[in-house]
Symmetry: C2
Subunit: 233 residues, 2 copies
DNA sequence: CGTGCTGTTGAACTGGGTCAACCATCGTGG
DNA sequence: CCACGATGGTTGACCCAGTTCAACAGCACG
């Protein structure tokens, strides 16, 4: 059931009929294993297939000057390059985070499906709009928050998004993100991310060992991060 | 011809037929004068009409902690809250920048139009995707560039977007933006924006008096800002 | 003719960056 | 089985880009 999480995600976003769910489920998709750090799509590439995350994580990253900036993380159920259906080429590298399984659907197949249904088109459109809403929060985070709040916000957002697809258990989630990823996503140096995470640990807000992150005081963490999950669905 | 610039914008984004252009042109729209600093839509509001810029400028701003962060600027032809058609409520204040004229179309009218046309839906969808692409660049700008490059990038982007709607004359454009706006858009303090702009002037890259901004060495400025206009259409 | 906004300048300060170690873990190849 | 190099986390010392505070000038407007 490769499309399962993706359908669940769309379903959360817009109510789908039995028939619509079936139409998506029968889309011919090829599955593929992606290794940690492997580039799935390269910036500037003209894409002809939409990728969706079945298991694991992807992120989008872009070189700007001598730094690399992460533009987005993608969790199971997300379709990170849905926008390439209408806007080409892609403006960032799409990279695997930890061992990951992705599916791919041809643009042509997707276009054919959407041509036949205004409602499904709207569901997919809405999906991209939520992506855009997340981007806007990232702008707010990067432009206006201090380091501690930036990192806290990122963690809150990931937790909330994983909760939506049932991957948050008891305030815990698995994500093989290194401190370098956090640094690149928050526009901070690795060293300072390290100290910031230690501060979060020290305050008893999170636990983070290996790839397991736990929210110890979610309420407190959200307050610190000025986070509300209202924009995610 | 209130819709003129908006149609031109859509046209640039996706090829429209004579008939489609007419369908948009006859959409019932109410025009309205917006004063400098006047709030058109308030964060959290459930919107029932889409606003488009006829003349002047709007920007989206969001309070985060004790700062306010500008999330986007909108130039004539833009429809800043098109996303509210599918995602409510709006996540930022929409504010006038200088004396501005906006039009408004009821969601119901727009939905009716789009229900009848897969192609128009795609054109509007694409419009929101370009907005999203701009947001992603802002993330890159805010997360990875130094002050000088941030400000330069903002100026380059505005110039390029205004050029698309014919409002760039000979490297000059009118925009009644204050240094506070630049500060809020770039996540910098006003004082430092002031010094940064002086540096840009000093290097002979721009001239900026009152509300007239001129690119004196566009090529040089773009290099400094690491700017390429590829993502704007 | 004050009052408030915008731009400008100087001086002192600080959050976060940079540089440079060092440690633990882990996969790899000899 | 161990030596190794690579990667990720951690720490300390120093530095600097950008912030903060404060003052002032020009100007527009009621």
């Amino acid at each position: 059931m490769p499309h399962q999480k993706f359908i669940a995600r769309l379903q959360a976003v817009e109510d789908l009929s039995e028939d619509e769910r079936r139409q998506i489920a029968v889309l011919p998709a090829t599955l593929r294993q992606v290794a940690d750090g492997e580039t799935v799509l390269r910036q500037g590439e003209t894409v002809s297939r939409c990728v969706f995350v079945v298991h694991g994580f992807l992120y989008q990253t872009r070189i700007v000057g001598d730094r690399s900036q992460i533009l987005a993380f993608h969790v199971p159920g997300d379709m990170p390059c849905l926008h390439t259906l209408l806007v080409s080429p892609i403006d960032a590298d799409l990279v695997g985070l930890g061992p990951t399984i992705v599916g791919a659907v041809a643009h042509s197949q997707l276009k054919q499906l959407l041509d036949g249904s205004v409602h499904l088109t709207r569901a997919f459109w809405r999906e991209t709009l939520i992506d855009a809403a997340i981007s806007r929060r990232w702008i707010a985070r990067l432009g206006a928050q201090a380091a501690l709040a930036k990192v806290a916000h990122l963690i809150c957002e990931l937790a909330a998004r994983l909760e939506l697809v049932g991957l948050l258990n008891d305030g815990c989630f698995q994500m093989p993100m290194t401190q370098r990823h956090v640094a690149d996503a928050c526009g901070l140096s690795i060293v300072h991310v390290n100290r910031t995470i230690q501060e979060l640990r020290h305050r008893g807000l999170i636990a983070w060992e290996g790839s397991e992150i736990e929210l110890l005081q979610p309420e407190e963490l959200r307050r610190l991060a000025d986070f509300a999950p209202d924009y995610l669905s």
